[in-house]
């Protein structure tokens, strides 16, 4: 009986630990003095239970590479110019190649040198053209490409995190996924569409000059002077909608959003909101110079390829500030300021997946899940007592202990409880008694063969244990695979199912045996067993 004492102690320890970790998850316990004493926190609820947004964003890596190569090409052109080597504007051919034309053939050696020294490009091919021009095809290595992809992802995640912080969401979860994807989880948000708009906007801000001499008609037919581009100017209509009219810009951006340090919403004299942006020192200098050089010309403020406004520069602007007007309403201006403050995304992102659960549905799911769990449990408990008598009571006790351990385990391991996870617990209520059923049926058989109560119990547990163990292995295999391949909610199911099986083996085989031993200990050798 010495061993029985130790088994009782082990059972009590598990019971207390389970209780300690489970109690904070019950409503109303956490903020009491008792709650403060307990070690754990309450169980994490998944987005499907507490409501919120789950987004999978895809970063458009081709565009990121194109932008990057275009910039590298421009840098190369600038470096060449400093050494008085003249090249034409480079063209991006693919995500790893650009094409650049050297004007004077006799500068070939010097240009080769510059490429080697100042750029990550390798020369893939050169071709002699009319007039001694050399057409170069340059490429970057796959390693360089990987490097850029990694940088782009990191920057995109940083920017998105900044924007969400500005937005003020409690406990956002942002993580990188395979295949240039970013997963964003925002619990308990009231206005999902606004969040999506703010997260997904590229917010690439550029200042470009308007080419007022260009012929719009010809531009619309596709005839453009070199270094010009056709884009659209947004005009707000009286009814609040926007129309777009064509406008021709000089392609080179004179200043971009990367110099922006702050953005805020102000009201102009007609009470119209506009966004005031501040540049850092270098940006301020560039802005002063560019306004000084272009007085009486129109400057376009371009956001994500669309012109928001194209005011005429009245005078040289010092002080490192500019304002973006565009007939915004207040909310639009506020959101624009948020994205400009947080910085632009290095490449456009596409929403690949979106799951939004309203808070009322989440609460509804919890209520209904808990309701079905209670009723299911009551049925099973009653059924076991009716069918097995006192032994049924033992099974009921260990079943309750089992559920407590699952909840405590979820809290202790910091796992997330989802709606399918609740279903997993409910399923466990039904399946966990199986282990006891197997043992009880075996004990009944042994009793029928004429064994005494004690011998029958020993035989029943002894023979059934192995069967129970390996019958459960198959379900664990299924659960582990589900965890491996499943996404959020389904993973929650895999977790509770696995926890439930492991706990049920402990409670049904170990704890119920302790209870049985206690039950038979006080009785005479020949007494009947209620099973």
């Amino acid at each position: 009986m010495q061993s029985l004492r130790w088994r009782i102690i082990a059972t009590l320890v598990v019971l207390v630990l389970g209780l300690a970790y489970m109690l904070p998850s019950l409503p109303g316990v956490k903020d009491t003095p008792l709650g403060n004493l307990l070690p754990g926190d309450s169980v994490n609820l998944g987005l499907d239970l507490k409501g919120g947004i789950h987004l999978t964003l895809g970063v458009d890596m081709d565009t990121a590479m194109n932008n990057n190569l275009a910039r590298l090409g421009d840098d190369l052109k600038a470096s060449a110019r400093e050494e008085e080597v003249f090249v034409l504007r480079p063209n991006v051919l693919s995500e790893s190649q650009i094409e650049i034309v050297l004007v004077k053939g006799d500068q070939k050696e010097a240009f080769d040198d510059i490429i080697d020294k100042y750029s990550p490009f390798a020369i893939e091919a050169t071709e002699v053209q009319d007039g001694g021009k050399h057409k170069y095809t340059l490429s970057v290595t796959p390693q360089y490409r990987n490097e850029i992809e990694k940088l782009t992802m990191d920057q995109a995640i940083k920017t998105i995190r900044n924007r969400i912080d500005q937005f003020g969401v409690a406990e956002p979860d942002i993580r990188k996924q395979q295949g240039n994807r970013i997963q964003v989880q925002l619990p308990g948000l009231q206005d999902p569409e606004r969040a999506i708009k703010i997260i997904g906007q590229t917010a690439h801000l550029e200042f470009k000059m308007v080419d007022d001499e260009a012929d719009i008609e010809k531009a619309l037919e596709g005839i453009l002077a070199p270094g010009r581009e056709l884009t659209v100017l947004r005009n707000k209509q009286a009814n609040g909608s926007y129309t777009e009219s064509p406008i021709v810009l000089k392609r080179d951006a004179l200043l971009t959003g990367e110099y922006v340090t702050d953005a805020k919403v102000l009201l102009d004299t007609w009470n119209q909101p506009y966004v005031s942006i501040s540049f850092n020192a270098r940006g301020g200098t560039i802005f002063t110079n560019l306004t000084g050089e272009n007085v009486n010309k129109r400057m376009a403020i371009v956001l994500d390829g669309k012109v928001y406004s194209a005011p005429v520069i009245q005078e040289r602007i010092t002080g490192g500030r500019a304002s973006i007007t565009g007939n915004f309403d207040k909310a639009e201006a506020r959101d624009l300021a948020v994205v400009l403050r947080a910085g632009s995304l290095p490449a456009p992102v596409i929403i690949l997946e979106q799951r939004t659960v309203g808070p009322s549905l989440g609460q509804d799911s919890i209520d209904k899940g808990v309701m079905s769990a209670f009723i299911g449990m009551a049925l099973v408990l009653a059924f076991m007592v009716i069918y097995y008598g006192v032994a049924g009571l033992v099974a009921d006790f260990v079943l309750c202990l089992n559920i407590m351990l699952i909840l405590g385990g979820l809290a202790a391991f910091g796992a997330t409880l989802t709606l399918p996870g609740i279903a997993g617990i409910i399923l466990t209520i039904g399946m966990a008694v199986d282990a006891n059923v197997i043992i009880f049926e075996r004990i009944r058989e042994e009793l029928r063969r004429g064994l005494t109560a004690k011998a029958a119990i020993a035989e029943g547990y002894g023979r059934a244990t192995l069967t129970i163990l390996d019958a459960n292995v198959t379900t664990v295999i299924a659960a582990v695979i589900l965890y491996q391949f499943g996404t959020g909610p389904v993973r929650g199911f895999a977790v509770t199912l696995t926890l439930g099986i492991i706990c049920s083996m402990f409670t049904a085989i170990f704890v119920s045996r302790v209870l049985f031993d206690l039950y038979t200990k006080s009785r005479s050798e020949g007494a009947k067993l209620s099973i």
Binding site: E193, R355, G376, L379, D434, E441, T475
Partner: protein, 355 residues
């Protein structure tokens, strides 16, 4: 002694009715397959097919046809309106096959249509999900991979577990993995790989005389096929949670089968000369019948609670489990054991092993 639904001396001749059981199973499976063929394969939810769903709760009882009428003027590609959950929930699912439209647009369109055409009934958009084609394809291949690895691991586990011949199980695993790898090189899609994997598993079990494993695999294929078939007949959609349910059913079905097969093995070792293998099987199924039914009853009780009370989101998941658990219980009694019987040489192998 407490209640006994199954009396200890019960001796039902399960093996004797195996032909009837096979015919019943065949009819159900063929009906399901027929439904799948007529409907052009399983009906995928947005997890796999891509698209967008909007779950709407209306605050008074509204017939689905009214909601359909209200939405009829809305310009969304592949628009489908259906009820969700139990009657009285007043929850409806509005689905469009497109994932290119912004969720804001869809929200706007649904809100506009419902507030104009529902005679002032209040409603709430409870859930909106969009799955783009890329993610849909990813989730599809992940789900198939999960099923594939489940089949692979479980095939290996049961061939080792039932026959206590882990070397053979190892050979089996290697043969299965390499042939699947070979077939994989042909560029077949994952669905076909699973069918091939199952076919190869059955063939290998048969060739290596792993008869217990063969019975168990046949039973789980039987259970999953019937569940999928009934889902197709009922017009239910397959999504990630249904795959989770299918894997759980596989686990449950095997669990049941393992318990019966263990008893068969135990009784077969202790078999007296005059007893036939069929008699051993019958005796074992009868001895474990009480347990099989008890566990199935408690499990069905809770799953039924989940089905009725669990709410709309989990409704179909509970339905799949309900079907799977019921069929799994039936198959471990009427399908797995008779298949063991059908491959007579088993008794010879067992005797050799015992000798």
């Amino acid at each position: 002694m407490g209640l006994q639904i199954i009396k200890p001396d019960t001796n039902i001749d399960f093996i004797g009715v195996r032909k009837i059981a096979f015919i019943i199973s065949a009819i159900i499976i063929l009906t399901g397959l027929g439904s799948l063929i007529i409907k052009g394969g399983p009906k995928y939810g947005i997890d796999f097919a891509g698209g967008m769903i909007v779950q709407v709760k209306i605050d008074k009882a509204t017939d689905v046809s009214i909601v359909k009428d209200a939405m009829s003027g809305v310009d969304l590609p592949g628009l489908v309106v259906q009820t969700l959950g139990m009657e009285g929930d007043n929850e409806y699912l509005i689905r469009t096959s497109s994932s290119d439209i912004s969720s804001q647009d869809v929200r706007g369109k649904v809100t506009g249509a419902l507030s104009n055409n529902l005679d002032g009934a209040g409603f709430e958009i409870q859930r909106l999900e969009m799955v783009g084609p890329k993610v849909g394809a990813d989730l599809r291949s992940k789900a198939l991979e999960a099923l594939f690895y489940a089949v692979l691991l479980i095939a290996v586990y049961i061939s080792g577990r039932f026959e206590q011949r882990w070397t053979v199980a190892g050979i089996m695993a290697a043969a299965l993995a390499s042939s699947i790898y070979g077939i994989g090189l042909l560029g077949l899609d994952m669905g076909w790989l699973i069918i091939m994997a199952l076919a190869i598993t059955v063939a290998l079990c048969w060739y290596l005389k792993l008869n217990y494993a063969l019975g168990a695999v046949a039973a789980l294929i039987h259970d999953v096929m019937i569940t999928i078939g009934i889902f197709s007949i009922l017009g239910k959609e397959f999504d990630l949670t249904i795959i989770a349910a299918l894997l759980t059913i596989i686990g449950y079905s095997l669990n049941d089968t393992i318990i019966v097969f263990d008893r068969i093995r135990e009784n077969n070792f202790a078999r007296k000369g005059s007893e036939t293998f069929a008699a051993v099987i019958n005796k074992s199924v009868n001895q474990t019948l009480s347990r099989t039914i008890m566990t199935s009853v408690t499990t069905l009780m809770v799953v039924f609670c989940l089905f009725v009370l669990g709410g709309s989101v989990i409704h179909d998941f509970a339905l799949a489990l309900l079907i799977g658990v019921a069929v799994g219980t039936y198959s471990s009694i009427f399908v797995a054991s008779p298949i063991l019987m059908g491959f007579g040489p088993s008794s010879v192998v067992e005797k050799e092993a015992a000798a």
